[in-house]
Symmetry: D3
């Protein structure tokens, strides 16, 4: 189904093994999900992708982890990325998103989708007040 084939024994490659070990240590689980197992077809691409996801999503920062996963999922839904939508909604849940928050998230995401289409159809000029706020 994928456009690449995952290596059958990825951890034979030392660079892949190091990334997988870091995924397990960072997440505190033995489960390596498909994106990493398939990306092992190119160890450099795997290492660069994991380094970025770890830095952005698994390192303490201004926003709390659950909120970051919800923002990530909102972008993934808008771009119709099947894998990313599933994996980041699962991550949001594992980081504390309740079902009530998920329903609220869906209301916000779908209302944004609605007004985005309305405004892209109306092409209304941006208020100077929004622009002034930045100055």
């Amino acid at each position: 189904m994928a456009t690449i084939k995952p290596p059958s024994d990825p951890e034979k490659d030392q660079k892949v093994k190091a990334v997988f070990d870091d995924i397990r240590a960072t997440r505190g689980t033995d489960f390596i999900n498909n994106v990493w197992r398939y990306l092992a077809f190119d160890p450099d691409l795997l290492a660069a992708t994991w380094a970025e996801v770890k830095a952005v999503m698994a390192t303490p920062s201004a926003l709390e982890p659950k909120v970051k996963e919800m923002i990530y999922a909102a972008v993934s839904i808008s771009n119709s990325c099947d894998y990313c939508t599933h994996s980041h909604l699962a991550a949001a849940r594992s980081k504390g998103m309740t079902e009530a928050e998920f329903a609220d998230f869906l209301r916000v995401v779908s209302s944004a989708g609605k007004t985005n289409h309305l405004l892209n159809g109306l092409r209304i000029p941006v208020d100077a007040a929004f622009l002034n706020e930045e100055e």
Copy 2:
């Protein structure tokens, strides 16, 4: 610049006036931004749009207002909606988003954009584990 012309004296229409009054009361300001002034070209569309935005974004719910605005903005950025991006980032700021949170938001949104393209190119199958979590 828009595909419609805003009415020159919108509040002459009683339905429009009622919506504008409710916007002013809900937000505690006299400022009516362009989207509402242009939407007044069709009072029913104006009333329905405001009713939804008020219910979803200006009514207490499971997620906090600032987070809802950031999720809204994330969708708007992905859909390349110029007006919505400006108005909802301004709203996020007015509801407390700090510059550090905005920089973090940009890191998350852009990393999501990156992996969305990577995964849409690789077409990796969704893990059964993500699907099982829902059952």
Copy 3:
């Protein structure tokens, strides 16, 4: 503002002149809008683009001209194409779209944008009944 420069005297080129003459004859107006004047930078691309637009949009077919322009505009809004949104909404109006139809169009386009995001977030399986209908 464009990524190309329109030729200053495009009709000096015989292939461009032939296309411009056909646009004027087909539309019954002397007005040549910007997309054609800029595309004249490459006469073959101009001719191929006009041939397709004429065949699809300016030739009698199963759907009426006004409806075709509204479908065209719906796609252009979804793809955030500024020029196409303006030009095809103007074309829909010139082919009879009323303001009431435009407001209805906006309701449909924005509700579709809303449920597209809702369903892309929920990833609900397609009913067998929809698939069976095709068989």
Copy 4:
């Protein structure tokens, strides 16, 4: 496959039952398609979504039902929404779209996709004439 699990006996919930009854009455069929059965996981979200779809798509308005479904499907195709594309093309057929109209629809949607990309690449300024028409 979905990011949520549909309730096994949704009509036990009175709010869900009321929506399902209204869907059956409005459509004159006992068939409840998946989107409603899954949305029953959150009865308020279900009720709000059905209320909007009913008001926009199942209530007489300026545009005829078949045309509204085709516009809805055009947006859904552009946003790569699998479920929405299937359900609204099925609805367009059930409301009278012929195969000749469907082929014409596909020609319009795909030509729009083509020129949207061409124009988003060329970034040609919108003609003043299109803008003047609105004033």
Copy 5:
């Protein structure tokens, strides 16, 4: 799974047979992939689509075939077109794209996805220098 049903014996239709013969001759293979077999539901749409793909992708032009397939695949990934992503990445491989080039392609496509989201969020004005270059 598709929204149309492919004809069971498409080459009974002379127009379809002529297109299929040309596909086989142009590509030097007996394999007719699904897009053509399904498009045979409308022989005119089939013929027009093949004529364009042949002219653009299978005719010598300024860019080399492998590069054209990679550009085609980049657009298809961005639009989340499952079929097109698979078929044009397969075509790029058959025209010489190496695995190292594919990994490089993925790096470029995903970094573009990243900065597209960053810039669509920041809405930075285009430099006059880029615009001047065109004049």
Copy 6:
């Protein structure tokens, strides 16, 4: 116009100055385009963004620089990113893209946009042959 304000004297910040110096050295020009001058509002985001763009686009790799810029621009056009489309088409030109190659690029990008919409409307199953190729 932007959602942030660029610092008035960005190189006062040592981290910003180091990035700007590296941009000038890498490109062999004193010109710093807007994206970097605005990103200076957050020196860490600036440094991380430049590091990635330099590694992916300005470092020798499997694909030639001109081709990488064209792939980058193809994604940017599909995502309707105004700034990215201008900057990466300018970069493609500065790295040798001829006007004939640009016209060919536009033909490929727009045909991809066309068939993406056609296939997203038809939802044709991916051929096993494409999938087998990967195994």
